[in-house]
């Protein structure tokens, strides 16, 4: 890699890392895993930088690498994370929510399946279309809609109040 390549890569990281880092945090819900995921993503981007830098949209490549890395490790996370407690989020949108026990948004996302989480992050944080989300995740548009609807159904009870409030 030439010095120019290294400078280009550094500039790319500066321009894109905050965005990918935040997406990684929404996906993993854990700062240590976020750091690991972001570093692994940029390491792979760096390993192919000459090709990636000539692509039409290097950020799209990096985003896809992040998703692939995240989803390919979901079984490991299952081993190391506590199982989701379905009693903490009402199954039905109309259920009342006790705001005193309201969950932090990251905790709530962590109760979704990794694929559902990825769909929500792409659709509502990255603002990707259904078609783009389907392409990024390698699933059908119907599956994106189904997963999105199901995930929102579980999260909506929390949307009646300030979701950004963090648990102590």
């Amino acid at each position: 890699m030439t010095r120019n390549d290294a400078e280009e890569f550094t500039a790319f990281v500066h321009a894109t890392a905050p965005r990918l880092h935040r997406a990684a945090l929404l996906l993993t819900g854990d700062h240590h895993l976020t750091d690991d995921l972001t570093q692994a993503t940029y390491a792979r981007v760096y390993a192919s930088w000459r090709r990636v830098s000539r692509a039409d949209d290097p950020l799209a490549y990096a985003r896809r690498t992040l998703l692939n890395t995240y989803l390919s490790h979901r079984r490991l996370r299952r081993n190391s994370e506590l199982p989701a407690d379905p009693t903490r989020i009402p199954e039905h949108p109309g259920d009342d929510v006790d705001h005193a026990t309201r969950l932090d948004l990251l905790d709530a996302l962590a109760m979704l399946s990794p694929h559902d989480r990825a769909v929500l992050v792409l659709r509502y944080w990255e603002d990707r279309s259904v078609a783009d989300t389907a392409h990024d995740l390698g699933i059908t548009e119907g599956a994106v809609r189904t997963r999105s609807t199901r995930a929102l159904q579980r999260l909506r009870p929390l949307l009646g109040a300030d979701l950004t409030e963090r648990t102590p």
Binding site: F9, R22, L26, D36, A40, R44, R51, N79, T164
Partner: protein, 199 residues
């Protein structure tokens, strides 16, 4: 988009608004790890190229030498084509993650071992198929090894003691090698925090 959906989009943005990576560390770690990945990939391609070259030489030799076969036999015609492909594919035209099939993309991003986030007071290097782990002045290394090497770690080699093997998967095994003076309790603390792929 409904009001709920807009609220979710706003909530996601607000929740991570103040979260920023350490860019200097990120660049340092990713370039170091990325350079290693690239070297490994290049070595893999070179090995494949040598294997393909040997196959081609074998085919040509068999064709020239006769041996009861000819170069037009179907069995020979198909072999060099598939085997030679990697050598004719320089790194810059390798398939992108967007183009390659899913299993291949997953294979490239395999990491078999992770460290539980509950482990406190340790410095853990970038987690891939080998990484350093330190606690104070104690230094250890965790290494994921291919199953092909397993026999050499259980065959009495003093440089490859079997008691360093801490996990055996289907296709890989993991060793934890302590540096000088590392107490057993420190090693055990790290080993207890390792999580493994089911493969």
């Amino acid at each position: 988009m409904t009001d709920h959906d807009r609220a979710l989009a706003a909530a996601l943005r607000e929740r991570v608004r103040d979260e920023d990576p350490d860019l200097d560390q990120l660049i340092q770690v990713s370039t170091r790890t990325g350079a290693r990945l690239r070297r490994r990939r290049t070595v893999g391609i070179s090995v494949a190229g040598i294997a393909a070259g040997v196959a081609v030489i074998g085919i040509v030799g068999a064709s020239l030498g006769g041996g009861g076969t000819t170069g037009t036999e179907p069995g020979f015609a198909s072999q060099p084509t598939s085997a030679a492909t990697p050598s004719g594919t320089p790194p810059d035209v390798l398939p992108t993650l967007a183009n390659m099939d899913r299993s291949r993309a997953d294979e490239l991003s395999d990491i078999h071992v992770r460290v539980a986030p509950t482990l406190r007071g340790w410095q853990i290097g970038p987690v891939e198929d080998g990484f350093p782990a330190s606690k104070g002045d104690y230094h250890l290394s965790v290494v994921v090894r291919p199953m092909d090497n397993y026999d050499s770690w259980t065959g009495g080699d003093p440089d490859r003691p079997a008691n360093q093997v801490v996990h055996v998967g289907e296709t890989y095994f993991v060793t934890v090698q302590p540096g000088p003076g590392v107490p057993q309790a420190v090693r055990d603390e790290l080993v207890a925090a390792l999580r493994y792929d089911s493969r």
